[in-house]
């Protein structure tokens, strides 16, 4: 087999092992690569920083366990930023599988900042039919969620006394592993005029740019990098920043594999051209 053929047919297990090592080693031995903050993240931060103590945000956990590696760091950072500035949080999830994730992150962040359930934050839980939920919240939060996740009437929960519609919500924050951030912009933003910002998986982030450019989502976090950038801005290093060394090394490796494959392809084409002459 010619060298260029070998370059184009590297055993996939070698590639998997290389990527595994490229991710594992920087996690065990951090390299401390700098994190540059993008304008999208700065805009997200500005929207959060513009909130005043006592304001209420709606934090929607629009994801499940499959993408929590990317989105948990964002949700944690948003909660820390909000609680550290005495911003109240009304949390929901639009995914049945998001319930456990949201509960754990809310409880941990609240314990860290000494926040009280029902006064500083509330978890309304999962409501079937996300589109109906988004629309109905524009008419009445309490009618949409008559009870919280634990069965307590929302009419009796102190934080809910001042929350009736989106008008009482300073900011909607959607942490999403699907297109739901777009739907928050369409339903809550387009129909009810709520301000929506989002944290998205890397795959989803590319689809948020048109909304960002149009000002419909005035700030967003894209993938683990977005989470790391936001952690840097709020000075709360977490899972995002810790993962960025591995991310950079793995990307460099992927780039190397792409170059090797393309060089091999170039030489094989040249060899084929020579043979045909």
């Amino acid at each position: 087999m010619a060298f260029y053929d070998r370059m184009m047919s590297i055993d996939r297990r070698i590639i998997f092992l290389s990527v595994g090592l490229a991710v594992a080693i920087p996690i065990i031995v951090p390299l401390g690569f700098p994190v540059q903050v993008s304008e999208e993240t700065r805009s997200f931060y500005r929207e959060m920083a513009a909130l005043k103590p006592g304001d209420t945000i709606l934090l929607s956990f629009d994801y499940e366990g499959d993408v929590m590696a990317e989105l948990n760091p964002m949700a944690v950072a948003v909660l820390r930023h909000a609680f550290s500035r005495d911003i109240k949080v009304v949390a929901i999830t639009t995914y049945a599988g998001g319930t456990g994730i949201a509960e754990r992150l809310l409880t941990e962040a609240a314990a860290r900042y000494g926040k009280t359930y029902g006064i500083d934050y509330v978890f309304l839980g999962y409501n079937p039919d996300w589109s109906g939920t988004m629309l109905r919240l524009g008419e009445s939060f309490k009618a949409t969620y008559p009870t919280d996740q634990y069965g307590k009437s929302t009419y009796e929960i102190p934080i809910m006394q001042n929350v009736e519609t989106y008008r009482d919500i300073a900011l909607v924050v959607s942490i999403s592993g699907s297109a739901l951030s777009e739907y928050w912009a369409i339903w809550a933003g387009g129909r009810y005029g709520a301000k929506v910002i989002s944290g998205n998986t890397a795959i989803q982030a590319i689809l948020i740019y048109p909304y960002y450019k149009a000002g419909q989502i005035p700030g967003f976090l894209g993938g683990l990098k977005g989470a790391a950038e936001y952690e840097k801005l709020i000075d709360e290093p977490g899972m995002g920043i810790r993962g960025m060394d591995a991310q950079s090394v793995a990307h460099a490796l992927m780039l190397a594999f792409i170059i090797v494959g393309n060089v091999g392809y170039f030489f094989s084409r040249r060899a084929q051209a020579r043979q045909s002459k």
């Binding site: 297990r13 998997f16 990527v19 595994g20 991710v23 594992a24 996690i27 065990i28 499959d66 993408v67 929590m68 590696a69 990317e70 948990n72 049945a96 599988g97 319930t99 839980g125 999962y126 409501n127 079937p128 589109s131 629309l135 008559p146 009870t147 912009a185 369409i186 339903w187 933003g189 387009g190 129909r191 998986t201 890397a202 795959i203 982030a205 590319i206 048109p210 909304y211 450019k213 149009a214 000002g215 419909q216 894209g222 993938g223 683990l224 990098k225 899972m239 810790r242 993962g243 591995a246 991310q247 793995a250 990307h251 992927m254």
Partner: protein, 208 residues
């Protein structure tokens, strides 16, 4: 190194390795972990959906709070199950028709407003008061949108100026696909990072 004594984390760690073993080749450990995931997920979602929809949204309001109008929705929901039998399958078209009609009514005005009008508006700009960088950026955006739309214009043969313009459009599309691929790689690597962080931090205690 402080290996955890939490049995749940041990189970999660071993199952993670079982799933990773597929990268070498298919094997019984992978199959076991895969089937376990499917079974546990099915059970979890069945309980979640029953509790949050059938119980909280139908049983409680109708039986405990005396709100009979929701019975209509409940009946429509039950009619969906007629799809399971060939003879009664046709009945399920009624709840489906109801759902599609309501959905279209909700969606169409908002979509046109948010996804077409506002986004088309965002591609237009007034250069007065804008910096050079902003003008270049806005121009690129406008040219990209226009040429890409022309690429998808199939009512005339793409030759002459139309061919040149549509080639520019496809160049923008390729750049978009490249960016999507880059983000895809980042997303997949992030998931791997998440699992490794779990293995090294929560399970094996190598990293703190």
């Amino acid at each position: 190194m402080e290996v955890t004594h939490d049995a749940g984390i041990w189970v999660a760690g071993i199952l993670t390795l079982a799933i990773f073993s597929f990268l070498y080749k298919d094997n019984p450990f992978y199959k076991f972990a895969e089937h376990l995931l499917v079974g546990v997920s099915a059970g979890y979602y069945l309980v979640q959906y029953f509790f949050s929809a059938a119980y909280k949204k139908l049983w409680v309001p109708v039986v405990q709070q005396g709100n009979p109008i929701l019975i209509v929705g409940g009946i429509l929901g039950i009619l969906m199950f007629t799809r399971l039998f060939r003879k009664t399958e046709w009945i399920s078209r009624y709840p489906v028709a109801f759902y599609i009609a309501a959905w279209a009514g909700y969606v169409i005005p908002s979509y046109i407003q948010v996804r077409i009008l506002q986004q088309a508006q965002a591609t237009m700009f007034n250069p007065r008061g804008m910096g050079l960088g902003e003008i270049v950026s806005a121009s690129v955006l406008m040219v990209g949108v226009a040429t890409t739309l022309i690429y998808f214009y199939f009512s005339a043969e793409h030759k002459g100026p139309l061919k040149t313009i549509s080639k520019v459009g496809i160049t923008f599309l390729m750049i978009g696909f490249g960016a999507t691929f880059g983000y895809n790689v980042m997303g997949r690597i992030s998931l791997l990072i998440g699992r490794f962080q779990f293995l090294f931090t929560d399970w094996l205690g190598i990293v703190h």
